[in-house]
């Protein structure tokens, strides 16, 4: 299918991008990697009147360490994350997850910010950002605001981003030496949206779990943390018995949504299997 007609303008900087966004309102779409947007336009599922290209906005680029946080600019591509030494060192969960995102050609253009802003519950970065306690840096006409990942995703394809705001970057606490992670994804074919996925992270102290983050994707309308299971695990040591109980808790607390080939029951079953595998992997 051929996209319906639209205008196109390329913003030179963030101020200009925001001004254009305010000017055109609901009729405009930001284009960064465009890997999701252009597919929807080609399928005529969406017909904006203007695309605002933000790929030249330097404020959105780059991976850097700032104090005890790792800053990932919104325009950083999935391939850049996959091959970045800073990511490997400070957010290894992302390095492990990156190869699961679609395929190389898509990863070369698709962006961190694009994935987060789109808020697909089946995508990898939203769940990873929850597991990593990421902070979203958002800029609008009234200035900058920061939102925790756990408050950022509010509904299917819906985040707290307002129509006149741009996601600028995310900040992630640097990985600590007492940190373990596990990334689990089940997909019918490599690179497909997950049937069920889990981005898991723990921080331990003397064999006991201090912090536990279990962010599931492809289970519900938004990336979902198993907060009861997390709370149960925190303060304890991981062993086989704990794993079983955590799995039961996670299965009970998450209200799963069926997709085209997996029923609710299947999703519930599978999320427990992934949790068991993740916890087993992270067990000392």
């Amino acid at each position: 299918m051929k996209a319906a007609a639209f205008d196109y303008v390329k913003a030179k900087n963030l101020v200009e991008a925001l001004a254009l966004l305010s000017e055109h309102g609901e009729d405009a779409r930001l284009i960064a990697g465009g890997q999701t947007l252009l597919a929807t336009l080609n399928l005529r599922l969406s017909e904006p009147s203007i695309l605002i290209d933000i790929t030249a906005v330097s404020e959105l680029k780059g991976i850097s360490v700032r104090g005890n946080m790792l800053r990932i600019g919104a325009l950083v591509t999935h391939t850049e994350i996959e091959s970045s030494d800073l990511i490997a060192q400070h957010a290894p969960l992302l390095k492990e997850a990156a190869p699961h995102i679609a395929h190389r050609a898509i990863r070369n253009l698709g962006t961190w910010g694009g994935s987060l802003a789109y808020g697909d519950p089946a995508a990898e970065w939203p769940a990873c950002s929850l597991a990593l306690d990421a902070i979203m840096i958002i800029q609008g006409p009234n200035g900058v605001r920061k939102v925790n990942a756990k408050d950022f995703f509010i509904d299917l394809y819906t985040t707290t981003l307002q129509a006149d705001e741009i996601l600028v970057a995310s900040e992630i606490p640097l990985a600590s030496s007492n940190q373990e992670h596990s990334f689990q994804e089940l997909a019918r074919r490599h690179g497909d949206y997950a049937a069920v996925g889990l981005a898991a992270l723990i921080r331990t102290d003397k064999g006991k779990v201090q912090t536990c983050r279990l962010a599931f994707f492809s289970v519900a309308a938004i990336p979902t943390m198993a907060s009861k299971a997390q709370a149960f695990i925190e303060g304890k040591s991981i062993d086989a018995a704990l794993i079983q109980q955590a799995v039961n808790l996670a299965r009970e607390e998450i209200e799963t949504l069926a997709d085209i080939t997996n029923s609710q029951e299947t999703k519930t079953h599978l999320l427990g299997v992934l949790l068991e595998r993740a916890l087993t992997k992270m067990m000392p």
């Binding site: 007609a5 336009l41 395929h103 190389r104």
Partner: protein
Amino acid sequence: MNHKKQINMMLNGKQISAEIEPRRHLVDFLREDLGLKGPHLGCEQGACGACTVRVNGQIVRGCLYLAVQADGATVETVEGLTEQGVLSDLQEAFLRHNALQCGFCTSGMLLAAAELIEHQPKSNREQVREWISGNYCRCTGYHSIVDAIMEVLEARADGRQVKPVTTS
């Protein structure tokens, strides 16, 4: 609405200029306006890989990249890369192993394989399969494509060229 944009790009080694409607994706522009029929369209939703072209040195889905986005970019298609000789090892290996049948996926597959050889030269069969898993082939079942790519990887590792295919 739909105002054409002037763009300049380096295409297969030549500087070109054009006025393009924003909605047109790069592959339609290459195929229809410039007569470069090497990249193909199989789905226009970024799933099949038949449209793969190289922009600024990396493979992209040409159907998920607007022609206007290529302003100031370097674009290479299978035709240009063939002329440069960049794909010759892969082309010989593909021919030797019959790693193409109808040929419709082939230009995309070659470009994907070329990037693998550049970035992951130590790949084994499973890793090759993972890398090309974004390129749909309905004809070959992939085995011979993996064979061909492995032949090139092994030749590169040994520092030798791939033997050209000749008639007996």
